[in-house]
């Protein structure tokens, strides 16, 4: 599956890919623990990491359903978060140039990290970008799933999530995911607005809806923004 590339740039690309893969894989332990704490079985937790394989979407579906939301609101929230994987695919397709089974595999590993490493290899050329994509995609897949299993079994052994602080570890993990995205004042303002809106809606709407409703904030902000780069 990995294209043949010359060894000179592959070693550095491989090193970049593996360091990203291992670091990100550790988030899998947080996901595994959170998923079991939310009421999912170890099997369901592992299947989410194997089949969904997109961290934010996975955290969203277990978060919404775990808080009492319907399957529909869980899936809808996860799907909104999965849209960016589609945008990454559009960015990567002209570089990867794959069809058939290879395209199916490439699609599955089209995530933040594989796309990020691939784009970071741009100065080394198309072959390095392809190598970075495949190395990182497979690397994260392996570590993410191994750590998921470890986290899930760990949480299962613990019992009461609150006694071990797992109920606070989950929002802390979300915070760790969103923190690097809060680059500008308006990013921070919209994040706080989303927290406030979701909390305010909770007593008056069915579980799961308060989270999805905040997508309206993103649409409002996005439509009113003059250009993509004006506050960066």
């Amino acid at each position: 599956m990995i294209p043949v590339v010359s060894a000179t740039f592959t070693r550095q690309t491989f090193r970049d890919s593996m360091s990203v893969s291992f670091t990100v894989g550790m988030y899998g332990a947080a996901f595994g623990a959170a998923s079991v704490a939310a009421g999912f079985s170890v099997l369901q937790t592992s299947l989410l990491s194997l089949l969904t394989f997109s961290g934010a979407s996975q955290f969203a579906v277990i978060g919404v359903i775990g808080a009492g939301g319907s399957a529909f609101s869980g899936i809808a929230t996860a799907t909104l978060l999965g849209i960016r994987n589609g945008l990454y695919g559009m960015r990567m397709a002209p570089i990867l140039k794959v069809r058939g089974l290879k395209r199916i595999v490439a699609s599955h590993i089209t995530i933040d990290e594989s796309t990020g490493v691939a784009l970071s290899q741009e100065p080394r050329g198309d072959h390095a970008m392809q190598a970075g994509f495949w190395f990182t995609g497979f690397g994260v897949f392996i570590f993410w799933n191994l750590f998921t299993l470890a986290g899930a079994f760990g949480a299962q052994a613990m019992g009461n999530p609150a006694a071990w602080g797992l109920d606070a570890a989950v929002p802390a993990a979300f915070l760790g995911l969103v923190w690097p995205r809060l680059l500008t004042i308006s990013d921070r303002a919209i994040a706080l607005a989303a927290v406030a809106l979701a909390i305010a809606l909770t007593p008056i709407s069915p579980a799961g809806l308060p989270v999805i409703a905040t997508a309206g904030l993103a649409i409002l902000m996005g439509l009113n923004r003059k250009s993509v780069t004006d506050d960066e």
Partner: protein, 102 residues
């Protein structure tokens, strides 16, 4: 089949469909600046909303409890540029400590 299984299967199918769609349709169809801009805000609002709901609510009630301390510690850890595992573990430890005290 219960809602947990629907969640697992539905999410996996939907996310894969989006990934495959992205690899298969020309970039021009979704590269409008406003779509990109909205898409940039989507993770921020949804993850922030999840933080709010999971920290300050229990079913349909609002509450401030041990989880609030955990989140505060996580914010502090991130402000001090702590790595991800430290952020999560320090939040869990402080929350668990308060849970046992109260």
């Amino acid at each position: 089949m219960n809602k947990l299984w629907w969640g697992v299967i539905g999410t996996s199918a939907a996310v894969f469909a989006l990934k495959y769609l992205g690899q298969s349709i020309p970039e021009k169809y979704l590269s409008h600046p406003k779509i990109r801009s909205i898409n940039g805000y989507i993770p921020i609002v949804l993850l922030s909303a999840l933080i709010g709901v999971q920290t300050f609510t229990e079913k349909t009630k609002l509450m401030i409890d041990h989880r609030t301390l955990g989140l505060g510690v996580a914010i502090l850890a991130l402000a001090l540029r702590a790595p991800f595992p430290i952020v999560v573990i320090s939040a869990a430890a402080s929350s668990a400590a308060l849970y046992h005290f109260s």
